[in-house]
């Protein structure tokens, strides 16, 4: 399924799994892999996501069996065992996950029987048998959730009627994930809800275990977690509301609020009150900087989640002119592409932009060359080169981001849209 790609915007599935787990509070991934995978996957994910590194474990602090020739030839199960023993002895984790690199995957080490031994001793430990070559980062996010659902989430827990799960925003692969989850949580809390994100506010393995108590999954992404949504619904009776792209600005965020409100049967006046407060807040500032940014014809090169959000906000709420949008993650299902396309082209006033699906650096640039009328290029650090060559304003807001430091900044929701406009100005 994977194709030869120039400067791919993603890591392997191992990188995706590692990034997700490193964002869960007090969780210890253990790599059963060759000697470079911990660094490579972390550099590829958190290392290209705005300079912040997981505080608990990442990169060279991940326990690793560092398989060498001997393990590749004779099997690495013994090395894995002592690695797990050491990890359990010294790492103060609530749960341990064993991940597999290409080496372990190809030689076929039986990691499950190893983790079972530790399980019998009472260690919370979970095997993930999806080696690096099985796919890319996005599959890693989905694999992590599959693991949660198959091995961790508890069945038959009583429902908690104000509890929701907020998914779809990928730790690190979305460099603004912390801020994004925080802003959407802030809005949901105003609606009286309690929010599981798994990745913020020190939520850990216990949150994952009890996520079946939620009354709704809110998946903010055009296509991720289809399988997980089904499983939550069928096995744990948690239905899913899909928001097909990050909501940015007053219009889309208010749609988001209304959809959540409707799905949960929240009181209409509460919903409208929250929307009014928040929209007033946004426009209170926007009206103080009218014309601060000159109008732009823009192109977007980004993952589908941010690309849909930013295109819709700039076109619908800020009257910029969308010209071309290039979705840069690998997408495989036609229905997903249609959903993304619809989000991007179904605009209020603006003429719909052309939409492409292309992860390859060279081909992306070739597409951009067909649109000499663009005056602003919104993308990743990879787009700086094209923008420099064509003397375009360039705004780096999508993975990979290697030239910005991002803690809790967000461009989504109500407040994030103001930051986005601020940063566009800074960047003139």
């Amino acid at each position: 399924m994977s194709v030869v790609t120039e400067s791919p915007r993603g890591n392997c599935v191992l990188g995706g799994i590692g990034a997700v787990l490193s964002a869960v509070h007090k969780v210890c991934p253990i790599y059963h892999s060759g000697p470079g995978c911990c660094m490579q996957t972390s550099a590829g994910e958190s290392g290209q996501a705005g300079g912040k590194q997981p505080y608990f474990l990442s990169s060279v602090s991940f326990p690793c069996s560092n398989m060498l020739e001997r393990e590749v030839v004779f099997g690495g199960v013994e090395k894995l065992k002592t690695t797990i023993e050491g990890a359990v002895e010294i790492i103060d984790a609530d749960a341990y996950f064993v991940l597999t690199g290409c080496t372990a995957g190809i030689i076929g080490d039986d990691i499950k029987s190893v983790t079972n031994e530790f399980k019998e001793q009472g260690v919370k430990i979970y095997p993930i048998e999806t080696p690096g070559f099985a796919g890319e980062s996005y599959l890693g996010y989905e694999t992590a959730f599959d693991t949660f659902l198959e091995q961790i989430v508890k069945p038959d827990l009583p429902k908690q009627k104000n509890l929701v799960n907020l998914f779809g925003i990928i730790p690190y692969h979305d460099p603004f994930w912390s801020g994004n989850l925080e802003e959407l949580s802030r809005i949901l809390k105003k609606l009286g809800l309690q929010v599981n994100t798994f990745f913020t506010e020190d939520q850990g393995i216990e949150t994952i275990e009890t996520s079946s108590k939620a009354v709704l999954n809110i998946i903010v992404h055009p296509w991720l977690l289809k399988g997980a949504a089904k499983k939550y619904e069928e096995e744990f009776k948690v239905p899913t509301l899909r928001i097909p792209g990050l909501p940015i600005g007053a219009t889309d965020t208010s749609v988001f609020v209304r959809q959540v409100g409707e799905a949960l049967n929240l009181k209409q006046d509460l919903i409208e009150q929250v929307i009014k407060e928040e929209e007033d807040y946004v426009y209170h500032y926007l009206e103080q900087a009218i014309g601060a940014l000159s109008w732009k014809r823009f192109a977007v090169v980004a993952d589908s989640n941010i690309a849909t959000g930013v295109t819709r906000f700039l076109a619908n709420d800020y009257s910029f002119t969308p010209i071309v949008v290039i979705i840069s993650e690998p997408t495989f299902r036609e229905e997903d592409r249609e959903r993304i396309k619809k989000q991007i082209t179904d605009l209020e006033y603006a003429t719909p932009p052309k939409v492409y699906f292309e992860p390859d650096f060279y081909k992306i640039n070739k597409i951009l060359e067909q649109y000499p009328e663009i005056t602003m290029l919104i993308g990743s650090s990879n787009e700086r080169e094209y923008a420099l060559a064509k003397d375009l304003q360039c705004s780096v807001i999508a993975y990979p981001i290697t030239d910005r430091l991002i803690f809790n900044r967000t461009y989504i929701g109500y407040r994030g849209s103001l930051t986005l406009v601020e940063d566009f100005y800074d960047n003139l």
């Binding site: 120039e6 791919p8 890591n11 210890c28 996957t41 991940f62 030689i107 070559f133 796919g135």
Partner: protein
């Protein structure tokens, strides 16, 4: 290098897993009593493929192909960043990214082989960029499934004007990431250098440097070698096929880092009669003296070197005294790569500091020379032969309570200890001015540790409390080899 495999652990008396006190270590090594060992528990290492790619990815007019799944180019992001920053520092306004293609080996390729994808990638590289050079980097996956990379390259070369160079850097083949440098140079030698000896270019010296050397440092070193009337062929950062082709024409070779191109320089001497100097990294007064003298001796300009060293000492030593007043007697723990850790340890003497711990990836004959020197000026200190392994480091730092930690700061900073680094890829650290810059940086941190102290009150390191009470080396077990 014909006989050298490129795998560092194949060299005699090379130890990668060890911990102990420095005086005893020196004696044990001398008496052949150090034992081969392995860690039964360890944290992630750096694989050799990372180093192979990092060494070459700033070469001009080249395309880099990773024959691997997508994950194996994760660390190339650092090389990409260095290349971009390197251009900015050199005043290039239209900053480019390196051209990198990944074959993206997947499940199907693992079973059926990935050779077709490699052919496709080579074809794409040629169609898109018609580069002078195409490098193909192998991976664990391509190695284990047994793709015949050399054969594919040979076949593609028949119709290609680009020179295609395979680099055998499968991660699982070596525990020592510096092996990746050797893998790169072995291939450069085999595929890019002429078999016959070329005409010498007068006063040309090969100056080898890992990509972590900043442009400021490059300029300073080139300036110093200019004093010896030497013209530098700086390899491989921001280099080119032309510069690589000029390597055999040089009159001498030297490296900025001890583990970079050391085997390659040996080979250049054997094949092309190019003498080389292999001393230390030019960080700190003593090391800069030693490094500079080493080069001067190669070209018979010892008198020039001595005059310069004397002049620089007169200029720098009084400034050093001021730094010394601020740092005298402070206890220091150092962690770094092989070259930098020992260089930094020597530099500490310039500042009158006391070495309490040293973490370095490899112990070998070269390390022994440095340890003998350090044992002469410091009391007993702890040696941890480890590539990172933050769990050991944090245990030791917590135990030894240094006044300052020099190395990657991510962990020690969270114990509240002032931290600084001798590896600054974007600023000066080398030569006589570098030491002043470094010294002030360390002294400023020691004087004003507020950030780390406050951070420590909130930071959450991942280790159990009980770990700090245990023997930091408890997982190092001799293998009886």
């Amino acid at each position: 290098m014909s006989s050298y495999s490129g795998i560092r652990e194949s060299r005699p008396n090379t130890f990668n897993d060890y911990g102990g006190d420095s005086q005893k270590t020196e004696q044990d090594f001398k008496n052949g009593c150090l034992k081969m060992a392995d860690r039964t528990f360890s944290q992630g290492l750096q694989c050799q493929q990372i180093n192979s790619m990092a060494a070459l990815m700033s070469l001009d007019d080249a395309v880099f192909i990773a024959h691997s799944p997508q994950g194996c180019v994760g660390c190339s992001t650092l090389a990409v960043d260095m290349y971009r920053v390197g251009q900015a520092h050199r005043g290039v306004s239209l900053i480019k990214s390196p051209r990198m293609i990944v074959t993206n080996l997947d499940q199907k390729d693992i079973i059926l082989g990935g050779e077709e994808k490699l052919k496709e990638a080579i074809q794409l590289a040629i169609e898109r960029y018609a580069p002078k050079l195409i490098f193909v980097f192998t991976s664990c996956a391509s190695g284990i499934i047994g793709d015949d990379i050399d054969a594919i390259v040979r076949e593609a070369q028949e119709t290609s004007e680009s020179i295609i160079v395979p680099i055998h850097c499968d991660g699982f083949k070596s525990k020592v990431c510096a092996s990746g440098f050797d893998a790169a140079f072995i291939s450069i030698s085999k595929y890019l250098l002429p078999k016959e000896k070329p005409q010498k270019q007068k006063n040309l010296i090969n100056l080898f440097a890992p990509t972590t050397v900043s442009y400021k440092d490059q300029l300073e070193i080139e300036r110093m070698l200019g004093l010896l009337d030497l013209k530098c062929n700086y390899i491989p950062f921001y280099s080119s096929l032309d510069k690589i082709s000029a390597i055999p024409a040089a009159e001498a070779s030297v490296s900025i880092c001890k583990v970079f191109a050391d085997e390659f320089m040996k080979e250049l001497e054997e094949t092309y009669d190019i003498p080389y100097s292999h001393t230390v990294m030019p960080i700190g007064v003593r090391n800069t003296d030693k490094w500079f003298r080493g080069v001067a001796a190669l070209v018979g300009k010892e008198d020039v070197a001595e005059a310069y060293i004397e002049k620089e000492h007169a200029r720098v030593l009084p400034q050093l005294e001021k730094i010394k007043e601020r740092l005298q007697g402070k206890k220091v723990f150092i962690c770094g790569g092989t070259g930098r850790s020992f260089a930094a340890a020597a530099l500490i003497d310039d500042f009158g500091m006391e070495l309490v711990g040293l973490e370095t990836p490899t112990y070998d004959f070269d390390a022994q020379i440095d340890i003998e020197y350090l044992n002469g000026i410091h009391k007993d200190f702890v040696i941890d032969v480890a590539n990172m392994q933050p769990f050991e480091q944090i245990n030791l730092v917590n135990r030894l309570k240094p006044d300052v930690f020099i190395g990657v700061p991510s962990w020690s900073a969270r114990l509240g200890i002032p931290t600084t680094h001798v590896l600054d890829m974007k600023r000066p650290t080398m030569g006589y001015d570098g030491i002043i810059y470094l010294g002030n940086k360390i002294a400023d941190q020691v004087q004003n540790p507020g950030f780390n102290k406050k951070l420590a009150a909130h930071a959450r390191l991942p280790y159990k409390k009980s770990w700090y009470e245990k023997n930091p080396f408890q997982f190092i077990k001799t293998t009886g080899e």
